[in-house]
């Protein structure tokens, strides 16, 4: 009696999986919806980071400098140097400081408070709009949001230089401005006053002007869109976990697996088909997402394939556990969430600045996510990422092994 080979049995089981998956309308719909959602979310997110700070100032910088010309001259500055100072003030925007210069302190206060709107024309002219008074939106201009501003008294430079103690500088800020920015503004004013007063600062300055911790990404900040890439890939893996768990639990609850087990097919064939199908499905869709968001480059594609493959195996292992244990749809959703939410946390941690907490780093998906982030955002190569991928494979051994063990036990107990 000739019996079919393992390969042909597994191929038959895979074909059946594909039919079953394609006929599961709920998960097919969820998969397509998630694909559309994640790709749309990616392209809707800003792809640049605005590094400039908008600062309101009253009176205008040029007025302040003109009023202080005598002081500058007395300090030994040549007229060319004073002109240079004025030019530097005007070109502050190029250095990331967007100055909104207003003549009157009352206007600055009203702007910060939101009572007045500031609009800037293409040629740099500022227009104030009182919306409550029914003024129309200026045409050919864009609105500028000013969250913080400094109001200097008239003759500020000469007053400070002469050591007048009653010189009052007001820093205006709205409630949304972080305290760090407010503090920075106060420090800026205090330091300017010290400089103008000709006194030494009461603190020693480090030799370097700025100390950057980690990679200096000034001018090439990571946008939200870029940060989303790993999370999008993980989102699709999450949906595939649900889908695969559903396929497994249907097979277990309806006992169709028992019918398979009384044919020449063995438990090994069943587990192999679930492993191959689950991993291939998740890998395929993860790669589609990465492709649609343009994550692949000539140098990182193999890294991304490897990272998504490892992630796909992890989530397939989880789906086996969930599918074996889930008694019904709700129970399955609960278990899937219980297992997958911790696995997705590292993907969220990328969205927030700073390095991840130690417990996040201990999660199984962290090494894979780290590799994905480094490969998609920071152009890292195999040379630096192979230990992370190896760590991910270690977790695969744990999660996938657990999935195989639980599913095998379940099938054998039916």
């Amino acid at each position: 009696m000739k019996t079919p080979g393992r390969g042909s049995i597994i191929a038959a089981l895979l074909k059946k999986e594909l039919i079953a998956y394609s006929r599961d309308k709920l998960y097919l719909f969820l998969t397509v919806l998630t694909l559309v959602f994640v790709v749309a979310a990616f392209w809707l997110m800003p792809d640049r980071v605005d590094e400039s700070i908008t600062l309101g100032i009253s009176p205008p910088l040029q007025t302040i400098i003109e009023e202080g010309t005598e002081v500058f001259t007395a300090m030994g500055m040549a007229p060319e140097q004073i002109e240079e100072l004025q030019r530097a003030g005007l070109s502050a925007g190029d250095e990331g400081l967007d100055l909104v210069e207003l003549e009157r302190e009352e206007d600055l206060s009203a702007v910060i408070e939101g009572k007045l709107e500031v609009w800037r024309t293409d040629d740099g002219r500022l227009i104030l709009r009182d919306r409550e008074a029914g003024q129309e939106k200026p045409t050919g201009a864009r609105r500028v949001t000013v969250g913080v501003g400094i109001a200097l008294p008239r003759g500020f430079i000469s007053r400070v230089a002469s050591g007048q103690q009653d010189t009052v500088v007001t820093v205006y800020s709205d409630a949304t401005v972080p305290p760090q920015i407010r503090g920075a503004m106060r420090s800026f004013v205090r330091e300017a006053a010290y400089q103008l007063a000709g006194r030494e600062l009461p603190v020693a300055l480090p030799e370097e002007d700025t100390i950057i911790l980690g990679v200096d990404r000034a001018g090439r900040q990571v946008s939200v869109r870029q940060k989303l890439v790993p999370m999008l890939a993980f989102m699709i893996l999450l949906i595939e976990t649900f889908a695969m768990a559903s396929l497994i639990s249907v097979e277990v609850l309806q006992r169709t697996v028992t019918a398979i087990m009384v044919t020449p097919a063995r438990v090994f064939d069943f587990l192999a088909s679930k492993s191959i199908f689950g991993t291939a499905l998740a890998l395929f869709q993860g790669l589609i997402v990465l492709g649609l968001v343009g994550a692949f480059t000539a140098t990182n594609w193999s890294l991304l394939v490897a990272a998504v493959f490892i992630g796909a195996m992890m989530f397939t292992g989880v789906s086996m556990v969930v599918g074996s244990a889930g008694k019904d749809f709700l129970g399955q959703i609960f278990l899937a969430m219980l297992f997958t939410v911790p696995l997705i946390i590292p993907a969220f941690s990328v969205l927030f600045p700073g390095s991840a907490a130690a417990w996040v780093k201990a999660l199984p998906t962290y090494p894979v996510l780290h590799a994905l982030v480094e490969a998609t955002i920071y152009e890292a190569t195999w040379a630096t990422l192979w230990p992370w991928l190896l760590g991910g494979l270690g977790w695969v051994a744990v999660l996938f092994g657990a999935g195989l063990f639980v599913l095998k036990r379940k099938v054998e107990s039916l």
């Binding site: 042909s8 169709t256 019918a259």
Partner: protein, 286 residues
């Protein structure tokens, strides 16, 4: 001399402390239908699960087609067909897809799935998904799936349970055809009529033990009460009398009644399998 297709000796199985199958022994010849008759929980399905490799026996041996069970044996599995009590079909696949899938697991390159579906009267619904089938149609699908590999040994667990008489009769006819083809059939049921109609031999199983095993006729002769029922006219009324043939003077009494002008009808009475089962076990089949 034809070898038995199924040989079971001293088979035992327990779920924890509960002994489900106790020292069960029997044989089934090719082309024979052995009816396993017993109430729910008697050990019928457990015996089938052991013989189809789903459970490993705690003690005893079983050989099917001269191959020992209890090990992963694709050669043996390729020659058996199983119809489960639960309708474990792929509901999102059509009847034809279900059969083609299982045929591929048996390594059948060009299965005659349509032919099999025609036999069970499902050819016109072959391409419809199984979730649209009625209960009877699903049961016929189960039977057709068990036949797809033309098995030499068939295990049928309650194949007509809960079906309407027409569908049940259609399924019984198909089972008989399989036996005529030469398949050894082990049929579990708690339907005494089905066991009587289909089985060449019947095994009564109760509490995990086989309490009787023989042809239905022999069981009735051995364990049943032979009697005749006589209807007599008494004036304007009709009187019924039952005469047990094994009692003393029964022949004379029958002869006397037969000669009477008041005799209306006389019928022989045969013991039912259920009555015999109750007599042997002290409990019913439900």
């Amino acid at each position: 001399m034809t070898e038995p297709a199924i040989v079971v000796e001293g088979l035992c199985y327990s779920y924890g402390n509960i002994e489900a199958v106790k020292d069960v022994s029997f044989q089934v010849m090719p082309g024979e239908i052995l009816g396993f008759l017993g109430p729910n929980g008697a050990g019928k399905s457990t015996t089938i699960k052991i013989l189809t490799g789903q459970l490993n026996p705690k003690r005893g041996t079983a050989r099917i087609l001269d191959r020992e069970i209890g090990h992963d044996d694709p050669i043996l599995q390729a020659q058996i067909g199983v119809c489960f009590e639960e309708k474990n079909l792929y509901l999102n696949m059509s009847g034809l897809e279900n059969l083609n899938f299982f045929a591929s697991l048996f390594g059948i390159k060009k299965p005659d799935s349509m032919g099999v579906l025609r036999r069970v009267g499902l050819a016109d619904r072959a391409k419809d998904r199984v979730h649209t089938y009625s209960k009877g149609m699903r049961q016929r699908m189960m039977i057709s799936r068990a036949f797809i590999n033309q098995p030499r040994v068939l295990f049928l667990d309650e194949p007509t349970d809960g079906l309407d008489p027409v569908t049940a009769a259609s399924i019984r006819k198909t089972i008989k055809e399989e036996a005529e083809r030469g398949a050894a059939v082990l049929l579990t049921t708690h339907d005494m009529h089905e066991a009587d109609e289909l089985s060449d031999r019947v095994a009564f199983i109760n509490g995990g033990e086989i309490v009787a095993l023989d042809t239905a006729e022999n069981l009735k002769l051995e364990h049943g009460t032979r009697s005749v029922k006589v209807r007599l006219r008494e004036g304007d009324d009709v009187r019924e009398e039952r005469i047990v043939l094994d009692e003393d003077g029964a022949s004379d009494r029958i002869a006397k009644l037969a000669a009477s002008k008041d005799l209306m009808t006389i019928h022989t009475e045969e013991a039912s399998l259920e009555a015999i089962f109750i007599a042997l076990t002290g409990r019913g089949l439900e």
